[in-house]
């Protein structure tokens, strides 16, 4: 296996045993990028010079005999809504095409403190609004398992980059499934932590009460290692939660004996592809055979999750997008006679259609005469959905469910029909509404495309979630399969 195909924990062993250098690993990753990136387009921008410089520092530390942290020298890709000091951060939008942040997001500071090697910024749906990475103002990213299909979104670039071995690990953000859905579509591991576990400081806001930064990795062990680095309270984010530091690698236990697993029937409702359903139910059986206790449970308000999400996310989005006015940073229209015209032209020219649509819907829901009927109503239903989960987690430790109703769809298939596109998020938004941690891990294939298993747990129970995911991974082989994508010149897969 080539170095770029390995996991972070394996590479760490090789680094400390001096079998390879951080430079070798970085080189393997950039070679792979050269090979496939023309077609896959997972990145908006690569940061080769920075990466080699960071790799060099790690190699020097190793040569001096210093201890290095687990992610030192490990290539990482960052979603392009995570601010990197001195490196363009575009949100895949014309609005921020030339924006160079004057500071690092807290997660980036932590990544740098741990000496990980930043490979580049990954493509995404514009301002994280989308489920396919097709709303990127630059270009769509392709799924390495089948280049006629989407990688999912909005963290589609991060998921495709990990799946295609164009990086070792990646960060994404998840507002309604934007880590888990692309992870499922690309056959990798994607974790959305509990709301408040990871700082949002320096992460460009979409829907602030749902947004959470999380990990995209090749296996569950790497997920725990990366979570160890990014989790923690941050006084720059008032919604980040003060808790004692957890070592998530302690949760990597191959044992689920006696653990209570709930299978919520509402996640298996009409519209779920039968092969996806079969793969998820077989996964339940795997864990059962390992000694877990399984029972069917019910979340009566689950079907209301998507409409609730739509209203709240779009209302928050419309408020967050108000800052893009062409004055302090970002795009400004070349010609405007007065200030109002400047705002309107700047925003109309700088935002793409999906962003405009969500701003419009959100503004409508918050406007006089509609606030109670839409926004307040949705917040009340949010309470009911949250209570459903609270009740269920009194009885079970984790919930198992599909991540998506089907495997990755084709490029162009849904992009013109907003409601159909929104419906692809119906099984991921509930975790964001209730603020729960949730992970997607590979659990099967349909027509050669990966299927994701979603595991949800109660607030701050990432450890339980990782334990179940780890046990499943240790006893199955789905995570070992690679897309076998050779790049344009190597022939289509």
């Amino acid at each position: 296996m080539k170095l770029n195909e390995l996991t972070a924990h394996r590479l760490h062993e090789m680094l400390i045993n001096r079998e390879v250098s951080a430079r070798d690993i970085t080189e393997a990753v950039f070679n792979r990028i050269d090979e496939v990136e023309d077609e896959l387009k997972a990145y908006v921008r690569t940061t080769k010079d920075l990466a080699y410089q960071q790799a060099e520092e790690v190699d020097q530390k190793i040569q001096r005999g210093e201890n290095i942290p687990p992610l030192a020298g490990i290539p990482i890709a960052l979603k392009d809504n995570i601010c990197t000091k001195g490196v363009h951060t575009t949100c895949s939008s014309k609005m921020l095409e030339n924006f160079i942040p004057p500071y690092d997001a807290t997660v980036v500071e932590k990544i740098k403190e741990n000496s990980a090697v930043i490979v580049g910024k990954t493509n995404m749906d514009e301002f994280a609004m989308g489920s396919s990475t097709e709303t990127s103002a630059f270009y769509p990213t392709k799924n390495p398992w089948d280049i006629t299909r989407v990688p999912g979104g909005s963290s589609g670039g991060s998921a495709a980059a990990v799946a295609a071995d164009e990086t070792i690990v990646a960060l994404g953000s998840d507002t309604g499934g934007s880590i888990r859905q692309p992870a499922a579509f690309c056959g990798v591991v994607g974790l959305k932590p509990t709301y408040g576990v990871v700082s949002r400081y320096g992460v460009v806001a979409y829907a602030s009460s749902f947004d959470q930064v999380g990990t995209i990795t090749k296996d569950v062990t790497d997920c725990a290692l990366l979570l160890n680095v990014i989790a923690g309270h941050d006084s720059n984010d008032t919604t980040s939660v003060k808790r004692e530091k957890v070592d998530y690698t302690k949760a990597l236990i191959d044992n689920v004996k006696g653990l209570k697993i709930g299978v919520p029937k509402e996640y298996f409702a009409e519209g779920l592809d039968p092969e996806v359903e079969k793969a998820v139910l077989e996964s339940v059986e795997v864990l059962k055979s390992m000694g877990a206790q399984c029972e069917e449970v019910s979340l009566p308000h689950l079907k209301y999750a998507l409409p609730t999400y739509c209203i709240i996310a779009m209302a928050e989005a419309s408020a967050n997008m108000a800052r893009y006015d062409g004055i302090r940073y970002g795009y400004r229209t070349p010609e405007a006679s007065d200030l109002i015209e400047l705002y309107k032209k700047t925003r109309s020219e700088g935002f793409g259609n999906e962003v405009k649509r969500r701003i419009m819907l959100g503004t409508y829901a918050l406007s006089t005469g509609h606030y109670d009927a839409y926004y307040l109503k949705a917040q009340k239903v949010r309470t009911l959905i949250k209570q459903d989960f609270e009740e269920i987690f009194k009885k079970v430790d984790v919930l198992l469910a599909p991540v998506t109703p089907d495997v990755a769809f084709r490029l162009g298939e849904k992009v013109d029909d907003p409601l159909t596109m929104y419906l692809t998020d119906s099984l991921t938004v509930p975790a964001n509404i209730a603020g729960l941690p949730a992970i997607s891990i590979p659990c099967g294939f349909k027509e050669g495309m990966p299927i994701g298993l979603q595991i949800l747990a109660k607030h701050f129970a990432e450890a339980t979630l990782l334990q179940v995911a780890y046990t499943f991974e240790r006893n199955t082989d789905f995570h070992r399969r690679k897309p076998n994508y050779k790049g344009q010149e190597g022939g289509k897969n």
Binding site: S209, K303, L339, Y364
Partner: protein, 94 residues
Amino acid sequence: MKISINDVEHVADLARLHLDEKEKEQLAGQLSSVLDYIDMLNELDTKDVPPTTLAVFIDNVFRSDEVGQSLTNEVALANAPDKKDGFFRVPTII
């Protein structure tokens, strides 16, 4: 909920967006269909249900009022599309 072209124009004005005729028409149709879907929420009686604004309870967050690090004028203006004499420059307002 049927959204008219007038509604679209009103909301676009609130959101400081300029839309052409084709966009207005398209949005009227798309917003109507999304809002129709969202009307599903009216099946639920939520009269006595309190709203949730944040899923994880966080108490008021206070900190001491101390001067910390901040951006210099130069750095703060570095991304400005137009600037003059250390200020953001905008079209004449009055």
